[in-house]
């Protein structure tokens, strides 16, 4: 099945009768078949609802006990039964923002290169490499982070940052290597392929007539890209970035392995931190009291709700440019 056949398939005018009609009509076999397919679709809906319901149920004790204070209390002490999620929320937000700051310019640049500027023969190999990068498991990134990235940050990057920008509170403190900076960098590496490939698809979905119009007015290649392509695909690109953010917020293993896992709120990027996903990963099996488990599940619930929001918004934005499926695209 090639790209060209996809265009042929989409161009065929779909006869309404050719696909399954709604409910009525057909013999018993048809109705049973349609019902079982619809059943599978409902299972997906029910699974999603069950996911939210199960997390709410398991965390109800913590929700009832701490209420909203759970979000802004920074005291996390299983021994005395005090649970405040602030350090984890803080760590998740800071590491994700840091990752976006690094990843967004690079990803958009690479996507523009792949979709607009690269000569035809270099596109497939580079796109392939970027897809491979997306397929690398999180734990492998973490392993590489511990033994390659962290020593490199400790010995080279952090001393240099400390020397030049040490007057900023962001870059103060001893260079451990492990810490918020390492988490941000490893997250950036991990979300770059997602942002790049979705942005690239968004750019490719921009109609060619947009480019031709700008070029016809005498715009240079960059002006064409900026005026006719980027502006047209703006909402889709924001969606791509949000998809990357969604990944970064929930990423667990690689971050857990390099962030240092200390529940503190520190301004310095050199200091160890903790994220919502990593505290669940580290403490869930050790959680002895019911309240402890409930608090961890509540962190998971928060993570779920935030990523549902971010991803839902991202999908709507990406769909606004390309349509929900390739088949429906012009």
């Amino acid at each position: 099945m090639s790209a060209s056949s996809s265009r042929v398939g989409a161009a065929d005018a779909p006869l309404p009768s050719a696909r399954m009609a709604r409910g009525a009509g057909g013999g018993l076999g048809d109705r049973l078949f349609a019902a079982s397919l619809r059943g599978a679709a409902w299972i997906v809906v029910l699974l999603a609802a069950g996911l939210v319901a199960a997390l709410v149920w398991e965390s109800k004790e913590a929700i009832g006990r701490f209420g909203l204070a759970f979000l802004y209390q920074s005291h996390w002490d299983p021994v005395t039964g005090q649970f405040g999620a602030l350090p984890f929320v803080f760590g998740t937000i800071v590491s994700s923002i840091l990752a976006l700051l690094i990843a967004v310019p690079l990803s958009l640049g690479a996507a523009i290169f792949l979709a607009e500027l690269a000569p035809g023969w270099v596109r497939p190999p580079i796109a392939f490499l970027i897809e491979m990068l997306a397929a690398v498991p999180s734990v492998v990134y973490g392993l590489w982070g511990i033994f390659v990235l962290v020593p490199w940050l400790r010995d080279w990057v952090q001393p240099a940052l400390g020397a030049w920008l040490g007057f900023l509170p962001l870059f103060q403190g001893p260079p451990y290597g492990i810490g918020m900076l390492a988490a941000g960098v490893i997250l950036a590496i991990m979300i770059v392929p997602y942002i790049t490939s979705v942005s690239r698809e968004v750019l490719l979905a921009v109609p060619g007539s947009q480019r031709e119009a700008a070029l016809g007015l005498g715009a240079t290649r960059w002006e064409t890209t900026r005026i006719a392509v980027l502006r047209y695909g703006r909402s889709g690109l924001v969606g791509a970035i949000l998809l990357g953010l969604g990944r970064a917020l929930g990423e667990t293993m690689a971050v857990t392995m390099v962030i240092g896992n200390r529940p503190e709120v520190s301004l310095s990027l050199f200091a160890p931190g903790y994220t919502m996903a990593s505290v669940i990963a580290n403490e869930f099996t050790e959680a002895t009291s019911e309240l402890y488990v409930a608090a961890l599940v509540e962190i998971g619930l928060l993570l779920l709700l935030v990523t549902i929001g971010v991803n839902g918004l991202a999908r709507l934005l990406v769909w606004s440019v390309g349509g929900p499926t390739r088949g429906e695209r012009e």
């Binding site: 065929d12 397919l37 599978a40 996911l51 397929a135 667990t252 869930f284 499926t325 088949g327």
Partner: protein, 279 residues
């Protein structure tokens, strides 16, 4: 702005985008280089055939973890494939008005749900009632992750089947369900297989949802209702341990894992050449 300046600016930005593309693929080369150098030196036959050795004894392997991973991937496919494929066919073939849109949206959102949250879900619905960590819980968590991926790729691939085929079948008086099962789905087989391979590549490397479902195990698997080892879990345990020999094994395990994942991705790519994988 003069035309020359504009052209210069255009070239400069083009160069910057080329540079960012190069920077983006750099980590892949670095990660691969280290995996090959550090992993290959620790690989030997024992690694694939032996159980892990106790702390302090060098050598040993991760055979149980490889078997455990395969078992859980199999379980995940049993759970996830029927729902994913049937749901995908539904999305592509159905003329219902609202449900397909809702399901498509939910599937895409589920695809972005952190895998550790799926782990908590499997913990609450399997581990808590059974009162023990088990292969079953791990397989269910992986199956949950598999569903939205398979669903969406199946939909796209079934959608690509030209309508002329459906019309030809219906024109011959064949029942609709037979047209779908005997004509449309075989035509989309390669594409559906691609989706399955992509999903397998993804769940093979998942670690977070297994931490408190499968838990890990130092021995061969002892039944689906018992804790079970998995390759990603073993890599994680070895990587954060303080022993050099374990670090070597972690690199070797990562090399094996990434080879498996890339083979699956490559197989997916081969099945439908010219189409992009990640979405």
């Amino acid at each position: 702005m003069s035309p020359r300046l504009r052209r210069w600016k255009s070239d400069a930005v083009s160069a910057l985008t080329l540079l960012s593309a190069l920077i983006v693929i750099c980590p892949l080369l670095l990660i691969f280089g280290f995996l090959l150098v550090k992993g290959a030196s620790a690989l030997n036959l024992d690694f694939f055939t032996h159980l892990p050795k106790p702390v302090g004894e060098p050598g040993g392997g991760v055979a149980n973890a490889i078997v455990g991973s395969l078992i859980m991937i199999g379980l995940a496919m049993c759970v996830g494939l029927p729902v994913g494929i049937a749901g995908g066919v539904y999305l592509a073939e159905s003329r219902d008005r609202r449900l397909p849109w809702v399901v498509r949206f939910i599937a895409d959102v589920l695809n972005g749900v952190p895998s550790i949250v799926v782990g908590i879900f499997a913990y609450t619905v399997v581990v808590l009632p059974m009162r023990r960590f088990s292969a079953l819980a791990g397989g269910l968590a992986l199956g949950f992750i598999l569903i939205p991926i398979v669903l969406r790729t199946t939909e796209e691939m079934v959608r690509l089947v030209p309508n002329a085929l459906r019309e030809a079948g219906l024109g011959l008086g064949i029942e609709r369900w037979k047209v779908t099962v005997r004509i449309v789905m075989p035509a989309a087989r390669a594409g559906i297989l691609t989706g399955v391979m992509v999903a397998v590549a993804r769940i093979a490397g998942e670690t977070a949802p297994l931490l408190f479902t499968a838990l890990g195990n130092r021995f061969w698997h002892q039944g689906l209702d018992q804790p079970i080892a998995a390759l990603p879990l073993q890599i994680y345990a070895y990587a954060i341990a303080p022993y050099d020999d374990w670090h070597r094994q972690a690199w070797a395990g990562a090399l094996v894992l990434i080879t498996l994942v890339f083979l699956a991705s490559l197989a997916a790519r081969m099945a439908t050449r010219g189409r992009t994988i990640a979405r």
